[in-house]
Symmetry: C2
Subunit: 480 residues, 2 copies
């Protein structure tokens, strides 16, 4: 919190990045960087560091919160990023690595040698180390584990064993526990002896000798209660607890619903093993919604905007490949009707409209349903209600937009029959979109898959191929 003390407003936070960039962009530094691209970076930094602006930059960085430095690193292209990274004091490397995005973390770790990495990792708590471990080289992790005291080594092992997306992955071990048979007076004396309380300590956890959770003692109760009383008298004996293997998403919903700050995590035996704080939940919520947005657009993971071309390609290729396969299938559907198109070339111009509106409408349906599923709002008995409703909306849309498109086709190509085919094809494709928009998430949820991943690609594949087939098929039957 110390870093925060001198700052008063959000405006100041934004200014930091601007200042750092100005310092970086004074001509001498940029020119040096350009002139010496071939020189090893460390040597370069040493040569530059005597310069006035770099000294100013280093001083500026020293005063910043690790999260702000992380933000600055994310906003800089690789060369400038590594220059700034070298100026940061080594004992802060660990905290900063925790804060940066995965992609940027990779670029920073690549620039460090094993000793630096071990030194950085050793400044972290066990739960933080567990977050970092997947990105570190194996020999570095082994070195770090060997240097840990026994208790922390076990904590690290436990933390690393939990799945991403589980409560265990959000959990931290840093918390204050007290016994129920002591007075509040004694608790207060104990707290005074601690240097400071862990962040987000809104409550103390009451445990017995075997670490079984007996209740919680909110600080706000401790403050307003008679100090003569025993903890057992004042504590809340039963409270919400989490299990490490539960879904992080469920825990996040509980934090949202009940406005929680911290929740104890207990194992099967009721023993306290850690806690989850609202700040871990906030990070989780932000990250998981970002991931979903990226996944829907077909990006495998968060991308460093300044990533090398090859890294970007690897992050994006798989969905492009899937898109290519589905587009190829749609193309073959058209291919099957080449004879019809040859006879009536207007079909080629009109068919993408039918496919397009189906895709758009299907995406609306599937997005809504995937969201309701994620929130647990969709009970199995209501699927039928839902599919009837979606088909009705599709029918209404079909009448209105299909009718409009039919009029347009009639006007453009002076053929009433073509207009009617257009109207019916649009209506049918919208109903196909509604049906698949409900069916795809239902089937995926049934088989235990995440209904969100790739939902957009799947629905579009259906409405493209389906739209071409319906339109060209109807046209072949009724027009030719």
């Amino acid at each position: 919190m110390a870093e925060l003390a001198n700052r008063l407003e959000l405006e100041d936070l934004r200014d930091n990045l601007r200042e750092v960039q100005e310092l970086l962009h004074r001509q001498e530094i940029e020119q040096e960087l350009l002139a010496r691209q071939e020189m090893p970076r460390h040597a370069l930094v040493e040569q530059l560091v005597h310069q006035q602006h770099l000294v100013a930059l280093q001083a500026k960085l020293e005063g910043l919160h690790p999260a702000d430095i992380a933000f600055i690193l994310e906003s800089l292209p690789l060369q400038a990023r590594l220059l700034v990274w070298d100026l940061v004091k080594a004992d802060r490397d660990g905290e900063i690595l925790l804060e940066v995005s995965d992609a940027v973390r990779e670029s920073l770790i690549e620039s460090m040698d094993p000793q630096e990495l071990v030194a950085a990792a050793e400044t972290l708590e066990a739960d933080e180390l567990a977050d970092l471990a997947p990105d570190l080289p194996d020999d570095v992790i082994q070195d770090v584990i060997r240097a840990l005291p026994l208790e922390e080594r076990e904590q690290l092992r436990a933390a690393m064993s939990y799945d991403e997306g589980s409560v265990g992955a959000l959990m931290e071990f840093d918390m204050v526990t007290v016994r129920e048979d002591v007075t509040l007076e004694a608790v207060t004396r104990y707290l005074r002896r601690l240097d400071e309380l862990p962040d987000h300590t809104d409550q103390l956890f009451v445990v017995d000798r075997e670490q079984h959770l007996k209740g919680t003692l909110p600080l706000s109760r401790l403050i307003v209660s008679d100090l003569e009383l025993d903890v057992a008298k004042v504590m809340i004996p039963e409270t919400l607890t989490l299990a490490p293997e539960e879904r992080a998403e469920d825990a996040a919903q509980a934090f949202e619903r009940y406005d929680l700050v911290s929740v104890p995590v207990v194992d099967d035996l009721g023993q306290l093993i850690g806690r989850v704080t609202v700040s871990a939940v906030l990070d989780y919520v932000r990250e998981s919604s970002a991931e979903q947005a990226l996944a829907e657009a077909g990006l495998r993971e968060e991308e460093d905007i300044f990533a090398p071309v090859w890294d970007s390609f690897r992050n994006r290729w798989s969905w492009l490949a899937i898109n290519l396969v589905t587009a190829f299938i749609a193309s073959r559907v058209i291919g099957a009707f080449e004879g019809s198109i040859e006879k009536l070339v207007a079909l080629a111009a009109l068919m993408p409209i039918v496919a397009g509106i189906g895709g758009n409408s299907g995406n609306q349906t599937i997005t809504m349903i995937v969201r309701a599923l994620a929130l647990g709002q969709l009970q199995s008995q209501y699927w039928r209600t839902l599919i009837i409703k979606e088909l009705s909306v599709a029918l209404l849309n079909g009448l209105i937009w299909g009718g409009l498109l039919g009029l347009l086709a009639w006007w453009l190509y002076a053929s009433l029959q073509l207009g009617l085919v257009m109207t019916f094809a649009t209506m049918l494709n919208l109903m196909l979109a509604a049906f698949m928009g409900v069916a795809i998430p239902w089937v995926r949820a049934r088989f235990g898959r995440d209904p969100a991943v790739g939902s957009s690609v799947l629905i579009t594949a259906c409405t493209d191929s389906g739209g071409f087939f319906i339109f060209l098929g109807l046209a072949t039957i009724f027009l030719l």
Copy 2:
């Protein structure tokens, strides 16, 4: 918090919904509902309420947290939802209305008469009222305002004046302030006199007579400090503050970066007017990411999954209309090349592939850039770097996928020239997608628009029309 005390695990929370639904679905209730759809709901409820299952249901609801009841209401179709709503004790209506989604709130408010609404509103704090006000009928609001004490009336007026998406909209007025010239002993005595501290009180705010913020006193400091000391000695004199007109998004980022629980809000004169808590921020982050996901799929706002068909139609029509216009333009581009398609019908089958892969790739680029813009990571001097990078990725993608598509076209239609046209068209459309994927958000950000809204529609419009034009144009020049 009282409602939480009896609950131990997340599993129990999930069971609540199941139990309520079971109670609702015992045959007698369902049959009654079906048989009496025409009867006024209140009469129906009264007739039913003597039945055992409804009594059990009411008892069950009584024990639940308002947020849990809100969740249950969201998960029920309209008829069952209103039945449950009538069983909820009237004095909890206000809290529950705050928790449900906008769409469901509308359906509940429609079912209440003005007196019920006034009674519900009067149980709320000024900042909560401000959240509810936009959904209430005007005469209800006037009645409520008239009944408020002067101070709260002014708070309400202030709260209602802030834009959605500003810090003011997240702010609450409930907080504890102390003077700097009293001892911690006196502070503790004062706190004891309060019934309970407001939720999320991790710190007290230190103010002078004119409410100027002088510093903050974290509870964790209060607990571990000598009670003889003055507040001025122990408080943190300078701390992060927010202004009511700042962007909620910026405040959320500050909460995330610095792991905050509460932050004071001050006006231009440095006077304390309220505070923002992490739980308001968590709700905001969740809501705004949901809104963005919905907007990208072309839904105007969050939709009640059981909404009447007509409501759903209104929520979705505008984007379908836009899609229709862009699809029509793309169709006219094809129309301009009908002569070419007539001569070489293979073009009709291949053209959607070129357009599709461009759209997919453009969406990847635009999603990444919109995200970086939202996080403030994109400085103006790096646009050029970025566009060069994206064009390079597009070139690489074009060589690989375009090459593959060229081979496919060659194999399918036994024409090397057609294959070459396919390859070059794919490559050019991918480069168009990359260029527009950077240019669209840049232009929109320049003109102060939200670069996210409709980004997907815009990029797809470019790559569809562009893809058809490039492919059919190249084919006309080189093949015919």
